[in-house]
């Protein structure tokens, strides 16, 4: 029989095998939200919406996580978001913790660094975990949520072939192994990756820069006692590439990355013997290892003009793409999800007009620009574009060996940190005495709280966080319940430093994505209602 849904890649975990749906025997059934793509960003979107009680249907043309890892570094903010989604514990359990690294030039160690995360946070700065495992843990959390009644459905081997938006809904044509059927959605979230057929089908732009360089990724399995550190070489003496990276993953797997240059023959370079020659030169003789997964990538930094097109929203790689230096791909996609979920839930619940979704576009476009800027600068440092650029790059490396200032210029990737939505129209009043790091637009910094953590005490909806300040019994506006959280900073230095600064008390209005909306020294009903109204009438 002819395969109606061609499988473009192999699967690491079969998570959502094809099952016939009753929708296939009906005229176009309408769903509130359909998500295209069941990989990290699509799964997280479904989980976030489902946990908010919004019925969501995910369509993916495969049946689970793809074989071979792309992303390996997952950042603190991603773990905090996944914790809210119920998936972080498993990730932390399997992931490799790291915070130190070494930078080499040729055969010289230039310096060592320590990301030394500030203490008093539930999650570390980074963990390394293979992307298929990251996806599996999100999927496990979906199974758990489903068991608790969350309205999430995933259909594997459902390929979306056409998307036709109109003012009232979006029509979809879907192909399955048993033939085509139709669906309709009030809202469509396209998490269908960098090649997004949804984006292309609608003829939307995806502009930016292609970097003229090829990178060879080799994940190898070896029992070795290299330390759990990120090692990066510029112009390595072992000549396996113009730059090289060695980084540990779980299960005795190591990520090796070689910069090959622009004019290469992909097929030749991917021959196992040729890959092994490069790896041998790097690791030295007599190291026993097996090639687990290899691949050659070229990198681009680009984004769509707008992440919202009427009833179609774009999230993750479909909306923006960055080079891997800085681990900003999946990490930023998870922040898209964090930003979009609650807004879509409010709009679907009739609590906010659909213009609230324009702030998803505004805030996440800003974040994408920040990520693209950082990732472009790192790539330019690693792959200098002109002889003079290379001259300066190598001058920085020469100086970094003995002058500390130059180490801050060395750029092998500025690792992902969350964007602060300065200037967002959702931001309410700020207070001059309070610390800058928690100003409106910032993600709430975590802090220890009793035996637990501040972030896990924040609600799924809006929260009023009162620090040594009084709050009324209950706050309700037009059906919107605001959770109250009263804490004291008197014996909690982290809370004081991160939230009070020079103030003696504070009331924070925290959005459902744990970003600060507004802050005052004391509770004032009119002020709080105005700040909420600013968001819910945005």
């Amino acid at each position: 029989m002819q395969d109606l849904v061609e499988q473009r890649y192999d699967i690491a975990f079969r998570m959502y095998p094809y099952v016939r749906s009753a929708d296939q025997d009906a005229a176009a059934v309408r769903h509130p939200v359909i998500v295209i793509g069941g990989r990290p960003i699509g799964l997280a979107t479904a989980l976030d919406l489902g946990l908010r009680g919004v019925p969501v249907l995910v369509l993916d043309d495969h049946e689970g996580a793809g074989l071979g890892s792309r992303a390996i570094c997952f950042a603190k903010r991603t773990l905090e978001i996944c914790d809210r989604l119920g998936a972080a514990e498993a990730m932390l359990g399997k992931g490799v913790l790291w915070n130190t690294g070494k930078v080499f030039h040729d055969d010289r160690l230039l310096y060592e660094f320590n990301l030394q995360p500030e203490s008093g946070h539930a999650f570390p700065a980074f963990i390394n975990l293979q992307q298929p495992w990251f996806e599996k843990f999100l999927h496990d959390a979906i199974l758990q949520a489903q068991a608790n009644g969350a309205p999430i459905e995933i259909r594997g081997r459902n390929r979306v072939e056409a998307v036709t938006p109109s003012a009232e809904h979006v029509a979809l044509e879907v192909m399955t192994p048993e033939g085509p059927y139709r669906l309709e959605a009030d809202w469509l979230v396209a998490c269908d990756g960098a090649r997004s057929p949804t984006r292309n089908g609608l003829g939307l732009d995806f502009k930016g820069r292609v970097f003229e360089d090829n990178f060879l990724i080799a994940d190898i399995r070896m029992k070795a006692d290299f330390p759990t550190e990120r090692w990066f070489w510029f112009e390595p003496h072992f000549k396996s590439g113009d730059s090289a990276l060695l980084h540990k993953q779980p299960d005795d797997i190591w990520r090796i990355d070689f910069q090959l240059g622009w004019n290469i023959d992909r097929k030749t370079e991917l021959e196992p013997a040729n890959i092994r020659a490069r790896v041998d030169a790097m690791l030295g003789p007599n190291v026993d290892y097996a090639l687990e997964w290899t691949s050659i990538y070229t990198f681009q930094c680009r984004r769509m003009d707008s992440f919202r097109h009427g009833r179609v929203l774009f999230a993750g790689d479909s909306a923006h793409q960055v080079s891997p230096f800085g681990a900003r791909g999946a990490n930023s996609g998870i922040q898209d999800v964090d930003n979009l979920g609650w807004k879509l839930a409010l709009v679907l619940g009739g609590m906010a007009p659909d213009s609230l979704l324009d702030t998803y576009d505004a805030e996440r476009v800003c974040a994408a620009d920040e990520n693209i800027l950082n990732s472009t600068r790192a790539t330019d440092f690693i792959t200098p574009k002109s002889p003079m650029s290379k001259m300066f790059r190598n001058a920085v490396l020469d100086l970094a060996h003995h002058l500390p200032f130059a180490r801050t210029i060395v750029n092998s990737g500025r690792l992902s940190v969350p964007c602060i939505y300065d200037g967002s129209r959702l931001n309410g009043p700020d207070h001059p005495k309070m610390p800058r790091r928690s100003r409106p637009g910032s993600p709430c910094p975590d802090a220890p709280l009793g035996d637990g953590w501040l972030l896990e005490e924040l609600g799924r909806g809006f929260t009023l966080l009162a620090i040594d300040a009084a709050l009324p019994e209950a706050i309700k506006i037009k059906g919107l319940t605001v959770q109250r959280l009263s804490v004291s900073a008197l014996a909690n230095a982290a809370l004081r430093d991160r939230y009070l600064g020079a103030a003696t008390s504070a009331v924070y209005l925290v959005r459902p994505d744990q970003h600060v909306a507004a802050r005052w020294e004391r509770y004032d009903e009119t002020e709080v209602l105005a700040a909420l109204a600013r968001i819910c009438t945005a």
Binding site: M388, M391, F392, N394, A395, V396, D398, L399, L403
Partner: protein, 67 residues
Amino acid sequence: MLITEPNLHNPDEIYARLIAAHDGLSEAESHALNARLVLILMNHIGNHAILTEALGHARPTGGTGQN
């Protein structure tokens, strides 16, 4: 503010040292020396506005290479 009025108490002396620092170097080595020097001075100045002003003065105005 970038100082463009005279600020060196013995310009001839320090200029001669700059030239002497390049003695015996190939053109590539000289370029590298200059690059390191720019970076070191840049860090010492440490002020974005001043550096931006300096870059503006240094960059040929015609945009094609000649001052």
